[in-house]
């Protein structure tokens, strides 16, 4: 058998030899390197610059240095993947196909597999007559191979192997150089791998966090909203915010903070956001909604906890109901005045069985803003929480819009060096109702609901009582429905709705570019009947250019 190592000719006491696989020879050098070679190799592989590199850059650098030191044609690094118990080709020079094809090798078999399983260097003099699993090695015409395991504190990291296209006898010095390279590189690889994994987890939780927060805030008639989320310097947390529309002209706004960091906190945040939105849609008020989310957290059987503040604003009546669970008190910005809202101390969600979240009520006047925020915004090392809230209040007291409030708060409170904790802030403003309505609406059925929300708010503000608001809303909606039916389909068309209040009388004008159609079918006339019944006076003007409906009704002062 000619394929055993020529190193075997050396005195038997210098090395032990076994043949783990056909044509493979295990080499265990016992002789120290020639001092000059040692110095040279040591320099090559202990460069402290190596530890600064990312995993990819480190592996590439290692390939170059090993190739130079041993004057070989190929170098390959396979890393051990504990989950699959396989070696995965991660970097190679001369046999790049290994990496491109994503070669995976089982432990215990073949050349690299034996090196990894037995944790010994192996030399193959003649690849064609040896136990080699990876066909790429033969296809590339590699004649001889030498490989060593990469080990850190007894843990297998991978395999480093070199190859020669011409038959070559790797001697004891070659083995020593390769082992030194492996010894120096292994810890750096492990560090870089760990770092890459952490970085990956950070990226994943960042993407998760982003995808779990609203992509855009609900566009609700009657309010202006804005929000910010900023991750901490090091890792994401579980802060969240949400704004959603609720039945009967109401809008929900919530902010919360899941205790903990990373993917787990971000994932729980997503579940709580969904749970709260679901309970809110069911029609529960803020206090009961938070209590139900608390029961939900309790039922998870995880040591999960979160704080939250949730408010429901009624765009028709300007009433604001809110409740908190272990969360910082909301602020209300009213002109240049900023006040902290009263809250009843309540435990965080998931903290105690049957936690209660008492509800508070106030009127959020036109132009006023509600500001919800997480502790990441106001908590600073060595500064009292109340002082942080005072700084926030001072920062936002000149804000005219929610967007401005968020910008000012972040600009003033986020330290230059970044955040230790993530932060969220959301602002909701009771949008001022104009004294006259001038709306251009698209001529499609879904416009009607939108127009009614605007109308109810506007009529409320004009002082009409509830019944009158309802009657006029249906009358205007019917006239708008007619305008939509007149529109020449399928091109996009619009119609106009004007409203004004003078001397206790409301006048609406609905103008479209189509022709008034006589009612079709005996039930289609009901729209006009409703308009006539709900208003004091109705005039319909049909011309070639379009149809104009003018309707009036007196309202009794409230």
């Amino acid at each position: 058998m000619r394929h055993t190592s020529p190193v075997a000719e050396a005195p038997a006491e210098r090395q032990r030899r076994t043949t783990p696989g056909h044509g493979q020879v295990v080499l265990l050098p016992t002789e120290p390197l020639d001092p000059a070679a040692e110095r040279d190799s040591s320099y090559r592989f202990s460069d402290p610059g190596l530890s600064e590199l990312s995993l990819e850059a480190l592996l590439t650098e290692l390939l170059i240095r090993v190739q130079e030191a041993l004057k070989v044609d190929t170098v390959a690094i396979l890393l051990y993947e504990p989950d699959s118990n396989q070696l995965v080709a991660r970097a190679a020079t001369g046999i790049e196909e290994e990496v491109e094809q994503g070669v995976r090798l089982p432990l215990g078999k073949g050349f690299a597999g034996r090196i990894a399983a037995d944790r010994v260097p192996i030399f193959i003099a003649d690849v064609n007559h040896a136990d080699v699993l990876n066909p790429i090695l033969r296809e590339k015409g590699i004649a001889s191979l030498l490989g060593v395991p990469l080990i850190v504190e007894g843990q297998l990291i991978g395999v480093l192997h070199v190859g020669s296209l011409t038959p070559r006898t790797f001697d004891q010095d070659d083995v020593a150089v390769l082992q030194m390279a492996a010894a120096r590189a292994a810890p750096a690889i492990e560090r870089a791998q760990l770092f890459a994994r952490l970085e990956h987890e950070h990226d994943v939780s960042m993407v998760l966090q982003r995808s779990l927060l609203p992509q855009r805030l609900a566009d609700v008639v009657g309010v202006n909203v804005a929000a910010r989320y900023l991750p901490a310097r090091e890792e994401v947390g579980g802060d969240w915010y949400d704004v959603f529309e609720l039945p009967r002209g109401r809008v929900g706004v919530v902010i919360g903070d899941v205790v903990g960091h990373g993917i787990v906190a971000a994932a729980l945040m997503g579940r709580l956001r969904t749970a709260l939105h679901s309970y809110a849609i069911e029609g529960h008020g803020p206090g009961r909604t938070l209590e139900l989310v608390d029961r939900f957290v309790q039922s998870l059987n995880e040591s999960a906890m979160a704080t939250a503040a949730y408010a429901v604003f009624d765009t028709y009546t300007s009433a604001l109901h809110y409740a908190t669970a272990g969360h910082l008190p909301p602020l209300v910005i009213s002109g240049a005045d900023v006040r902290m809202l009263e809250v009843t101390p309540a435990p965080p969600l998931g903290a105690f069985p049957y936690g209660r979240c008492p509800e508070h009520e106030l009127s959020l006047e036109s132009g006023e803003m509600l500001l919800l925020y997480t502790d990441g915004l106001v908590e600073r090392r060595g500064v009292a929480l109340s002082a942080g809230i005072d700084v926030l209040a001072a920062a936002v007291n000149a804000a005219q819009t929610p967007e401005e409030a968020c910008t000012l708060a972040v600009a003033r409170l986020v330290p230059r060096e970044g955040l230790r904790d993530d932060l969220a802030i959301v602002a909701l403003q009771n949008a001022a109702v104009p004294s006259e309505l001038h709306l251009t609406l698209s001529a499609e059925p879904k416009t009607l609901a939108h127009a009614r929300r605007i109308l109810r708010r506007w009529l409320n503000e004009r002082g009409a009582d509830e019944g009158v608001v309802a009657e006029m809303t249906i009358a205007v909606s019917e006239a708008c429905a007619n305008a939509i039916e007149h529109a020449y389909a399928p091109s996009p068309a619009t119609f106009e709705l004007h409203g004004q209040a003078r001397d206790g009388e409301i006048t609406f004008t609905i103008r479209d570019g189509g022709r008034w159609r006589p009612p079709r079918g005996h039930n289609r006339g009901r729209g006009l009947s409703i308009i006539v019944a709900a208003m004091d006076d109705v005039q319909i003007d049909r011309t070639a250019e379009g149809t104009e409906v003018v309707m009036r009704r007196r309202i009794a002062p409230k």
Binding site: P445, I474, N523, A533
Partner: protein, 122 residues
């Protein structure tokens, strides 16, 4: 947020459809088709619960008439649940169509009306 929702319950004699939200020309036909489509042939009739509807306009009224015709053609009755103080009641009053079918104040009352009626067609 969807404008309206329909929640359907089947009892031995009838299909009960609870409608919530707002019904206008954008969704009235869908609401009607949903209820008619879900009504089994064996049911004596449909109880259309409009007590929690917040808004109903002429398009909605038109669909109610349409539902009544479809059901009548199958030998089934339509009983509406419309309490006196409700937005739907106000819409019907404005439209001059106080009783677009048989009306009850509650679902229970509607079911009693249906149960006390001899089964048609058998």
């Amino acid at each position: 947020m969807s404008l309206a929702d329909v929640q359907i319950t089947l009892v031995p004699t009838a299909l009960i459809a609870h409608v919530t939200g707002e019904v206008d020309m954008s969704n009235a036909e869908e609401v009607g088709a949903t209820v008619i489509g879900a009504t089994p042939n064996e049911a004596q009739g449909v109880v259309l619960d409009l007590s929690r509807v917040e808004y109903l306009d002429s398009a909605g009224i038109y669909v109610i008439y349409g539902m009544r015709s479809s059901l009548q053609a199958r030998g089934q009755s339509l009983i509406l649940v419309i309490p006196a103080a409700s937005p739907v009641h106000d819409s019907l009053r404005l439209a001059g169509a106080e009783r677009p079918g048989e009306v009850a104040d509650t679902v229970e009352e509607a079911l009693r009306v249906l149960d006390g009626r001899p089964t048609t067609g058998s």
